[in-house]
Assembly symmetry: C2
Homo-oligomer: 192 residues x 2
């Protein structure tokens, strides 16, 4: 019997033009300023609720878990909210003790081993959403197959860099790109 | 009599996907690896020799001054070499004592004042080539009008970040973008 193809792990990161996913105060607000672009909102919504399992670090998880189950989210973006709430979710954190958002698995240790086993199991593709240090760790472990980078039209001058602390450089292959009216540019890469 | 329109200052920077213009060892080689793309080579050549005055820091100047006047450059890229050698050039350095490349002016101090006066004079537009700390200083002084960023398909994990040390964030307006077969993506921004 042929082996089922291994599912892939992609990451979705929003950065400034100088490569930061949050500013020097840990704020990611710069990436959501230009949101008055309907086409962009549809893109992000579809992207986040695309059917696969979602992986987060604690910070991103807590932001999303506070928003998507809320009545405001259900009213503002009903289809996306339903998709996010129904999706299989995994949050990595050494400190969280519970994770109450529906369909969420909390992983307190051995993130790399967990992801390696997850990828070996059959199932839908995996998407890591906006969790900078985890992107680096999984890329270093050779587990990151794709990254989708949204370059926002702002220069921050400081903050936390995408891939900070990567132990060796990784070549990427540009697969596609798309430009939005709000000035965001989406770049799809395969990680080699 | 109407005042002549002020000439503009643009910068041309090559970065990795994580926003570095050189790696942790000061090496910019990552940005030139994917050079086996004729369309890209033509683009870079035209871009660098576009007719305006060229501004550099010492490091970029020394690299270019070693290459463009050489017989090898004249043979490999004759039109670009002729354009680069004929262009008006300005190098900013506190330590250089002479700058022998044809049509080069050496500026040892008050870079910001010099550029402010230069912009107030009539003349062709100005292009700053690949000099990271100067980009930050001129953007902070409100003198940078445009930046053209080439995002290369590589993650470095560390190095010197574009706009490092900027005192306050700058909003940008995406004017255009272009993707090359070698995986480089060129983004044109107006600095606000």
């Amino acid at each position: 019997m042929p082996q089922s193809p291994q599912r892939t792990l992609g990451a979705f990161m929003l950065v400034s033009v100088d490569g930061y996913y949050c500013d020097a105060n840990g704020d990611m607000g710069f990436a959501h300023k230009a949101a008055d672009d309907d086409e962009w909102n549809v893109f992000v919504g579809r992207n986040a609720s695309g059917g696969g399992a979602l992986l987060f670090g604690r910070v991103t998880y807590e932001m999303m878990a506070a928003w998507w189950p809320s009545p405001m989210a259900a009213q503002a973006m009903p289809a996306v909210a339903a998709g996010m709430n129904a999706a299989q979710k995994i949050v990595f954190s050494r400190t969280l003790r519970t994770a109450d958002w529906s369909h969420t698995t909390l992983v307190n240790d051995d993130m790399v081993g967990f992801v390696r086993r997850l990828k070996a199991d059959p199932g839908p593709d995996l998407t890591l959403l906006g969790s900078g240090s985890i992107v680096t760790q999984l890329a270093d472990a050779g587990l990151l197959d794709r990254i989708q980078v949204v370059v926002n039209p702002v220069a921050l001058g400081g903050g936390k860099s995408l891939f900070a602390g990567l132990t060796s450089r990784r070549e990427l292959r540009l697969e596609d790109s798309r430009t939005f009216k709000n000035g965001a540019v989406v770049l799809w890469y395969e990680v080699r």
